[in-house]
């Protein structure tokens, strides 16, 4: 990024820098960084909600167990509705994806926290895993007839080759849009919040206006964090449905 040389100094992208936790500035693949820390906290909070809070297995659930049961029921119904009844065996994977992305997004909203899902490297791995799983699954279940996904038999015959090319392109673009949607939404939202926070420092007495704006933006960001986790999961279900039932 170009250096900000204006009257005020806003560096909205500084919050996304990966830094080692214990000093030094060389990042190897094994170096514990702030990404490692916040990813660990994400996994720890998911485990805390889904394992510790439901440990009592009460018939009348407490607060923690209620939240865990709500999340479980919500995702279970979504898998059933969108991907079909026979997709339920992939429910653990989809539930894991949802809880991880949801907690990574929401924990990233804590001030001074690091949003792990704002990095395309993180979301690309999640999206590629979904893409490879779904493609392999399609070929394992249906063999070569999985390719009928690209041959739309309800379209007029002269149109089918053209549609096949479009379908193939859109199939391979899936992991790109799947990953960049999440990373882009997270990164853009946090950068906007930082820019508004920078206005508050520069405006002096009138700084209450950007503070109100940044408070409203924060609420919006919470909504975006939930919706992006939901969208990532529901698109996984849609892709899974294509692999299970490739016939249009």
């Amino acid at each position: 990024m170009a250096d900000a040389t204006g009257g005020f100094n806003i560096k909205p992208m500084d919050q996304f820098v990966v830094t080692p936790l214990f000093g030094g500035d060389v990042v190897h693949w094994y170096t514990p960084t702030n990404v490692t820390l916040w990813m660990f906290l994400t996994v720890a909070s998911v485990a805390g909600l889904m394992l510790v809070a439901t440990r009592g297995r009460a018939i009348i659930p407490g607060r923690g167990q209620s939240v865990a049961e709500l999340a479980y029921g919500f995702i279970y119904k979504m898998v059933e509705d969108v991907a079909g009844k026979d997709a339920v065996r992939f429910f653990p994977y989809i539930m894991t994806l949802f809880m991880f992305i949801l907690f990574a997004n929401v924990l990233g909203l804590i001030p001074w926290a690091f949003t792990t899902t704002s990095h395309i490297a993180v979301t690309a791995v999640l999206a590629l895993a979904v893409f490879l799983t779904v493609t392999a699954l399609g070929f394992i279940l249906h063999g070569a007839s999985f390719l009928k996904l690209f041959w739309i038999s309800s379209a007029p015959l002269p149109l089918r080759p053209v549609l096949a090319i479009i379908e193939i392109i859109s199939y391979f673009v899936r992991p790109v849009s799947h990953s960049i949607r999440l990373a882009g939404a997270m990164m853009a939202g946090h950068a906007v919040a930082k820019v508004f926070a920078g206005f508050a420092g520069a405006l002096g007495l009138a700084s209450f206006i950007p503070i109100i704006a940044v408070t409203a933006l924060y609420g919006l960001e919470l909504l975006v964090a939930l919706i992006q986790a939901y969208v990532f999961t529901i698109l996984t279900c849609v892709y899974l449905k294509d692999a299970l039932h490739p016939h249009h």
Binding site: V176, S177, R181, I234, V238
Partner: protein, 78 residues
């Protein structure tokens, strides 16, 4: 001088790529607006269609994301 010209071109190109956001905005607004008008006509069917609302929004938004991707590529990769 030539480096500055390339830099300038990158910035202009990345800025132009942001126009794609407008297209995504129209698409998302179209999906959400049509969902709302359908839901007001038949509120009892609305709850079952929210999944399709979000799928439609996600697909419309994907094209806006590609313009964001072009802007990123221009700024950092080219």
């Amino acid at each position: 001088m030539e480096g500055e010209l390339i830099q300038m071109g990158k910035f202009i190109g990345a800025g132009l790529a942001c126009l794609g956001m407008g297209g995504a905005a129209i698409g998302v607004g179209h999906v959400a607006g049509n969902y709302l008008s359908g839901a007001l006509r038949n509120p009892s069917a609305a709850a079952g269609q929210t999944a399709f609302l979000f799928i439609g929004i996600a697909f419309a938004e994907a094209l806006g994301i590609f313009s964001f991707l072009v802007a990123l590529l221009l700024m950092f990769a080219v």
